[in-house]
Assembly symmetry: C2
Homo-oligomer: 104 residues x 2
């Protein structure tokens, strides 16, 4: 569809992680796996429907993983796959850039 150009690989990246909240969710999961409600309180301004939708997308993209622990009551945790964890350096660079250049 598009020419082979070495810069073209950036477009899919932003389609994967450019949506609202996605970066925040990934960042929150980088440190450790979290339950739905933990994510919910970590990012208070993000409502449940959005969170659910984003998590489902991240699962489909192979970035996040949903694990069910059959305890009583069940414990459901979201964590990152290798692919997801591999985003850390990039997010770190973005974060650094924000520190340097975004002053409110």
């Amino acid at each position: 569809m598009v020419n082979h150009d070495q810069c073209m690989n950036l477009d899919p990246v932003f389609e994967l992680i450019g949506k609202k909240w996605t970066g925040l969710i990934i960042h929150a999961l980088l440190k450790e796996s979290k339950r739905f409600s933990e994510l919910h309180t970590t990012i208070p301004s993000l409502n449940a429907r959005m969170l659910s939708e984003r998590l489902k997308e991240l699962e489909e993209k192979g970035i996040a993983r949903r694990t069910v622990y059959p305890t009583t009551p069940v414990r459901i945790e979201y964590g990152l796959t290798e692919k997801g964890k591999a985003l850390e350096p990039a997010l770190l660079e973005l974060s650094k850039w924000a520190d340097d250049w975004i002053h409110e």
Copy 2:
């Protein structure tokens, strides 16, 4: 509005560069300044209205700069500011991640 949290600085970043085409445009300008039509042919699937809109946004954010050379005919070039150029490491990391993890 939201709690002070060290991860919160990622949200504005994606608001700045998360929109469709933005990453591609910045990447294209990293190597060298380009004219409108050059950008247009570099990213063929991006139409003129979008390109114009994104460039205007990037200017407002202080990431790109529009320079008019009063030659005949006038030559208009778009380049990156220091702030824009500072995004290179982050884009590189994202690009690396794409190479490693996005196989069609």
